[in-house]
Symmetry: C2
Subunit: 319 residues, 2 copies
């Protein structure tokens, strides 16, 4: 399936003119990645029908849409690198990132709008509604960066909108393209949404407490760049007063000048998390979403083994 | 009709949360403007059916889309003012302009995608295709700013994509919503496209040679900010060599420090246009598009008087 997705992405036709509009789009789409969202579309489709290649154009369009959000988010975050490559506003300029990003959104919307597979009108409405919710999630993320009193529930709602909604959309889109019932389509949405929440919280958790060999990234990366994660929010909610929270934020925002300072900063922050019992808090939440996802999926009559295994491989969990 | 459009725009429901996402959208939509595109939708619809209020949601969505392009274009051009008010990136910040702009595009697409009036699937496809072409036009505009050898034909193709395509889309959308035939819908597209070209070139012309009382803006505004217009392109195409073109561009880019210098700069540039006979060149082009638009519209059997009068009122021309 992944091979077919990669081939479909590589086969997207880009006009050669105007110069500077489509080249950045092709560049972004060739950067790679797990192709998680199109895979979810196809796996969900395959629960109901075997001819999943019919869902490939919509699946590929969803990856185009996802990369549009990465392009605009990287610009807003002033992130210079993505997957080891220069981001578009860095390699070209800000205006190129804005305009090529807009074009990617439109190309995705156009592909999805012109499908005539399964319940295509509902697929289109689902996509656009999800995309609006994702903008809302991004805005909450921006707002939360300026606040000190974000609650766990608010944080979870933010990541639900910013990231889980698109996984729910992908899974439900697969079901709708395969002409599945309302009930089955909704089950897939809720399943993927919960998996998305578990996945995102686990990413925050592993950044602090993961095994670097399994995690694949340096431990403490989020801490070093002062990113507000679930761990930060959960810890701040458990601090005594604004003074303690202020001191913690100052520590998180301080830049480390040497490798020793970096290690010291990471150790200090992780020490605070341990003292406040945040590993257990996070683990309970992750397990909760994981259990919910499992319960939701079990209500489907179709054989969901492949979909479940895929989700678990993302979560890097043993079933 | 304009009253109903204004009322429909004022009645768009914006969620109150997340803070900072919908407020700039409501701000932009309340800035006013001629509401030219939704008016074209409704006038075109009325040629075929009298119940034009059915086309109001799509017409309003097209105005939302148009304002999305203005929002992102103003950000790319670093324009601080629009219709006498601060632009969104100025009043808020760049990231707000990016994200609220994306949301406007999605709200417009969602409204258009969920219409079930007339030939709605074709309306949706037309809208998305037009929006992609408008991105291409914007990219050509960016590219042309860096070039000295843009031809009149290239310039006209750029403004066709950047501005006329949306007028064509508006008029054809009205026809499709009213269940008009392919042929009639296409006639309306081509009519509005030509009117758009005439309108845009006339705007460039009037900036140099208009009557300030009728034009409503200061004469020479484009010259003062060094904007490349049809006049600039047509003049440069008629210059002897790169040396002359270079000197002209230096003059155009030079900033005027006092009112006397401003008047002198405007007089110098207009003097060059007159010497190269650009007023006549531009006038021939405008008249050509105007005649084409008239011919195209005359092939319709419906009574097009109101639509023609509206187009002429935009062009500020006597029939």
């Amino acid at each position: 399936m992944l091979e077919k997705i990669q081939a479909a992405i590589a086969a997207i036709p880009y006009p050669s003119r105007p110069e500077g509009l489509y080249e950045p789009i092709s560049y972004v789409m060739s950067m790679g990645g797990k192709r998680l969202r199109p895979t979810l579309v196809l796996l969900a489709y395959s629960l109901f029908r075997s001819d999943w290649e019919r869902a490939l154009p919509a699946a590929t369009a969803l990856e185009m849409y996802h990369n549009h959000t990465l392009l605009h988010d990287d610009l807003m975050d002033r992130a210079d690198m993505r997957r080891g490559m220069a981001t578009v506003h860095k390699k070209w300029d800000d205006n190129t990132a804005i305009l090529s990003g807009d074009t990617m959104l439109l190309m995705a919307a156009q592909t999805i709008a012109t499908q005539r597979v399964g319940r295509f009108n509902e697929v289109n409405a689902l996509f656009l509604q999800s995309a609006i919710e994702i903008c809302e999630g991004q805005q909450y993320d921006v707002n939360f960066e300026r606040r000190r009193d974000v609650t766990e529930e608010e944080y979870i709602e933010m990541i639900r909108l910013k990231t889980s909604v698109l996984l729910g959309c992908a899974a439900k889109m697969g079901a709708l393209l395969a002409d599945a019932s309302d009930a089955d389509s909704e089950v897939l949405y809720r399943f993927a949404e919960k998996i998305g929440l578990a996945f995102q919280l686990q990413d925050d958790y592993l950044d602090c407490f993961g095994d670097p060999k399994v995690f694949g990234k340096r431990i403490g990366g989020d801490i070093l760049c002062g990113k507000k994660t679930f761990m930060t929010v959960a810890a701040m909610q458990r601090m005594a007063d604004d003074e303690e929270r202020g001191a913690f934020l100052d520590m998180l925002d301080a830049s480390a000048e040497s490798e020793e300072e970096e290690e010291a900063k990471i150790a200090r922050v992780i020490g605070i998390y341990r003292r406040l019992d945040i590993p257990a808090v996070a683990d309970r939440r992750i397990q909760g979403f994981y259990d919910e996802a499992k319960d939701i999926l079990s209500t489907l009559t179709a054989d969901t083994g492949v979909l479940w295994d895929y989700a678990m491989s993302l979560l890097k969990r043993k079933v």
